[in-house]
Amino acid sequence: MMNIPLKRRTLLRAGALGLAGACLPSLLPAWARSGTQGLTAGASPLTGEDIHLHVGHSRFTVGGRSGHAVTLNGVLPAPLIRLREGQKVRLHVHNGLEEDTSIHWHGLILPFHMDGVPGISFPGIAPKSVFTYEFPVKQSGTYWYHSHSGLQEQQGHYGPLVIDPKDADPVHYDREHVIVLSDWTFLHPHKILEKVKQEGGYFNRQRQTVFGGLAGDDPEERMTPMERFAWGRMRMDPTDISDVTGSIYTYLINGHGPEENWTGLFRPGERVRLRFINASAMTIFNVRIPGLPLTIVQADGQNVKPVETDEFQISVAETYDVIVTPTEAQAHTIVAESIDRSGLTRATLAPRLGMEAPVPPLRPRPTLSMRDMGMGSMDHGSMDHSGHGASSPVKIGVGVDMVAAMPVDRTADRPLGLENEPHRVLTYHQLTPLTPFADMRPPTRRIDIHLTGNMERFMWSFDGQKLNEGLEPIRLARNERVRVRLINNSMMNHPIHIHGHFFELVTGMPGGNPVKHTVNVMPGGTASFDLTADAPGDWAFHCHLLYHMHAGMMNVVKIRPLDDIAAASPSPEDHSGHGAHAPPAAEAHGAHHGHHAMTGDDA
């Protein structure tokens, strides 16, 4: 008798929180629930030509604590969207928030006005309105989607998107699991930004200590006094690896913390495909499954020639598809460790729910080297005094605390902190495309883009200018083939992402250059990519570390001339009088019927 009103109250409260279409009691979609058989059984991805997504507030619980989240369809991560190459899709996004929202389809090739970046591709989705994205699905692979409005992504507004190939999948597998990595915090994202602006290294609780070097256990602490002096003179902290750390983050796999231990099932002998997506706001992960070799078959949704390794680093916004073949009826731990080793999360692959494998402890945190300071070529004893620093157009200033004196291409390097691991570690140079990139033309010109920042002031920018300071857009001619050279003048990794395109990351390896949408540029290093500017329009180009982007490390790529979208559109009208962001050209674009109901006054 007593239980009934309690239960009712719980449900009412849940209802009041706006959990439209929520899977109570769990805040997790079926595929992300623990003990899942994988995507072939028991999962309920969103499929078909019409998909509805409701953005709203939810409460999210992890580690016995619960907090406010911004979710889609009431779940975190957002629902898995599963599409097929060649289909058309209409994604109806209902904004139940009191603020604008948006969804960017990360890595998808689509018309620029469907890309979902407020102020670049479209006006955003106003509160209590519906926006319909419509585009043909032209590709296959593992992708994801997330808000591009404010800092909503940090609050849970992200989810996986898998597209099956039109023809037979070149990757053979018996079972698959989507593995969404993310970083959850109970701290409000605006508070996070305020803290790092107030105190540059605020979230770093692994600073070097005065007597740390004497302890001697940790090789990373054995820095000579002279080296420490050198870092101090530069006012740089060799332990400043991540801006936001495990001090406030709970790292999640499919919405589960390490205690909740998400478990995916397999039968021994099966080829299991794991679709890793790093949907974090700020966290680069080192991923390994002790005891199982990992065969990388796809990167950023693009198939690569299978390459076997033991550990890979996945930068923010990257995806890696991995095949594992567990042969024994035993559990295996998927370990995802943050790059600064301030925390880890784990999940389990097991034949039965409830089985567990040992969780390895966090390894000693890495420290930065002179190579990370952009003095890379000094390692070679070269006396080349033409250092890039000397001729760099970027100058030290308020927003630029460092110009790499001799940045070197680091795409062949092992990722930061994994240099000395005794096992195999994936590098970009090991990635080669399964099918060569379509455009074989050599690039005709080069664009140098300097990644710049000030760690103490937490200012981040391109070429020393934040977007709000009138940064000149990157202008490309349609179908032009350019080489973009990213020069990292900071001690931080920056995952650089361009919207609406794939690029060839120039490794120069005999197997060809891997095709990606996001490249992690290592500290003090460079990475170059060749881009075919085949998608006219305006596209976002930014560091995918959320607070770096928010602090100014963002630009717009403008590709001209535009095609005939203009001809198809009637002349725009003024809709500034009301809240909903109505397209003036709703009739011309089958995409936007959703708006009629909401605005009612379209001409």
Binding site: K197, S382, M383, P443, N468, R483, K558, P572, S576
Partner: protein, 325 residues
């Protein structure tokens, strides 16, 4: 070398250096690149690095293919400048787009407004026969480049009148990665000039920021309404004993260009303080501390103090709290 010669050499080398695509035919292209006379990349710097070639050949890891054969830096072709400036304007309402571009794009990516209030020292000071207290707080509000700072500090002995107290209001402008220049006014609540009800006002010009070796520095010049020039330099450094237990040496020097009898300040070095505070950060924002401090007055300042029967220096034992938010 003449500019023309350089240009010719650059052209020749641009032809020599194969584009990345061509290298793929040769799996060892990357290694060969190291032996090329030089690369177009280095030509961009307008320097012929004859000395560097040998270095390249000796490199254990040759220059990467991407770095070895870069196409030239060049501006966008003319067609890149055609069409509307903002592509979305042809699809969506341009007025709405203009508004959203400002609020959701430009202001969302780099614009920052924030604030901080820091009580750096709020302490009980145990001195020989004369216990007292001290506060030192500052706050700012503003953006990355410009901020309004308010600073206040003061001290006194228990059961006596407030000994000294001041408030500063400063406009702060970032001038380098580490330093802000600050200008504003200081108002002394105490000590008041003799025979006056009003406080004393100063114009301030200062520099605040982070010096090499993680030294927090605040240096300021003060020009009083009567034309007296004084200066104050403060420096502190945080040493992590652990990530929560922090030892902070701190020093302060006061200087004056002339005697100011009204405030008991003598010309030259007037006072010096050196302290050592050990704080425990329960959270970074809240840290109680204990410490010691040695203070000394010099020259005429000391004489003024003696004449007034005041202390001229000595050791203090400190218990306090540092907090910010």
């Amino acid at each position: 070398m003449s500019r023309l010669g350089l240009l010719a050499a650059a052209c020749a080398l641009a032809v020599l250096a194969a584009p990345a695509r061509a290298q793929e035919a040769n799996p060892h292209a990357g290694h060969d690149m190291g032996q090329l006379p030089t690369s177009p990349e280095s030509m961009d710097h307008g320097q012929m690095q004859h000395g560097a070639h040998a270095g390249h050949q000796m490199m254990p890891a040759p220059m990467s293919p991407a770095e070895a054969s870069q196409p030239p830096l060049a501006p966008p072709p003319p067609e890149a400048f055609t069409g509307p400036e903002n592509a979305a304007d042809i699809v969506w309402n341009p007025k709405l787009m203009a508004r959203v571009r400002k609020t959701e794009l430009i202001d969302m990516h780099g614009r920052f407004r924030g604030s901080k209030l820091m009580v750096d020292r709020l302490e009980y000071r145990g001195q020989d026969g004369r216990d007292g207290y001290l506060w030192d707080a500052e706050g700012w509000i503003g953006g990355d480049y410009d901020k309004l700072w308010i600073k206040t500090e003061g001290e006194g002995a228990f059961e006596e009148a407030l000994e000294s107290a001041e408030v500063q209001a400063l406009w702060s402008h970032a001038i380098s990665p580490w330093f802000d220049v600050q200008a504003g006014v200081r108002y002394d609540i105490r000590p008041r000039p003799k025979g006056s009800d009003a406080g004393r006002a100063h114009a301030i010009l200062g520099l605040q920021g982070l010096a090499p070796y993680w030294l927090e520095v605040d240096a300021a010049l003060f020009l009083s309404g009567k034309g007296d020039l004084t200066a104050r330099i403060e420096a502190e450094h945080d040493m992590c004993l652990t990530n929560s237990l922090i030892l902070q040496p701190r020093a302060e020097v006061d200087l004056a260009a002339q005697n100011v009898a009204e405030t008991g300040t003598g010309s030259g070095l007037s006072s010096f303080e050196a302290g050592l505070r050990l704080r425990y950060e329960f959270i970074p924002e809240f840290a109680p501390y204990i410490g010691i401090e040695y203070a000394r007055l010099f020259g005429n300042t000391r004489d003024y103090a003696r004449a007034e029967g005041e202390d001229t220096g000595g050791w203090s034992f400190l218990v306090g709290v540092r907090t910010w938010f």
